[in-house]
Subunit: 113 residues, 2 copies
DNA sequence: TATTTTGTTCGAACTTTTTCGAACCAATCC
DNA sequence: GGATTGGTTCGAAAAAGTTCGAACAAAATA
């Protein structure tokens, strides 16, 4: 039973505003190979979380969720509910607005091996 | 007394070659505010270590040395003996060669506060 | 040569991150 | 409604990074 005091069911996770993005936090988020890999995947376009990180299917979901959290809280990706899963996308516009050229210079570097 | 088996006195610290620079390591080195500050200072040109980090004169020298070590091992700065001290410089050419545009995009971001 | 200046290295304490199972939650499907 | 799918959160343990004093080293200088 839901009464009027109940908050609407928001499975919405907090995302920092564009102007609140902090360079060192973004750099830190991108400084982990697994996280950088995720960003490279999202470079091609939004991806459902279940379709992400298929390279390592043994990764526990809590670990995966944590990687996404670091990227989201730094403002690198957006993570919104979609159906019964989650849609991930790169916050390219916000990153470009706040740190022009940064994302492009990183994404054009060839992955190690 | 020094015989022929003695290694020459190299106060030379190891620096990774340009082609061995690893993006995630560089990003990590730059993801710390104190380290990023150092890089910003070196943007104006080489600096003697004693003249660096004057903003916080209370910083223990071992701490300062550690910051430099992380930057050096990532390939961000060069640290060579000079007189009785050390000369620090940005490895701009190597960084530009390996990660075109990266350093410029980072250095043009205004420091927080 | 002794002293001072400048900085590296080591080791230990401390802090931050990462990892991952367990519990939980929402949406879908039967 | 019950089971399934997909994902977040919590808590604890492990791993990684930071801090800083003490010990050491090399160059300059007296």
């Amino acid at each position: 039973m839901m009464d009027h005091t109940d908050v609407p069911n928001t499975a919405d996770l907090p995302h920092p505003a564009c102007e609140d993005l902090i360079l060192t936090q973004v750099l830190f988020a991108l400084s982990d190979p697994a996280r950088l890999d995720i960003v490279r995947q999202l470079d091609s376009g939004p991806l459902e979380m279940a379709q992400c990180c298929l390279s390592d299917p043994t990764m526990p979901k809590s670990t995966k969720s944590h990687l996404m959290k670091v990227l989201r809280e730094a403002g690198v990706i957006r993570n919104v509910a979609k159906g019964r899963g989650r849609l991930l996308s790169l916050r390219r516009d916000d990153l470009d607005a706040r740190f022009p050229g940064l994302l492009a210079s990183i994404l054009k570097v060839a992955p190690e091996a």
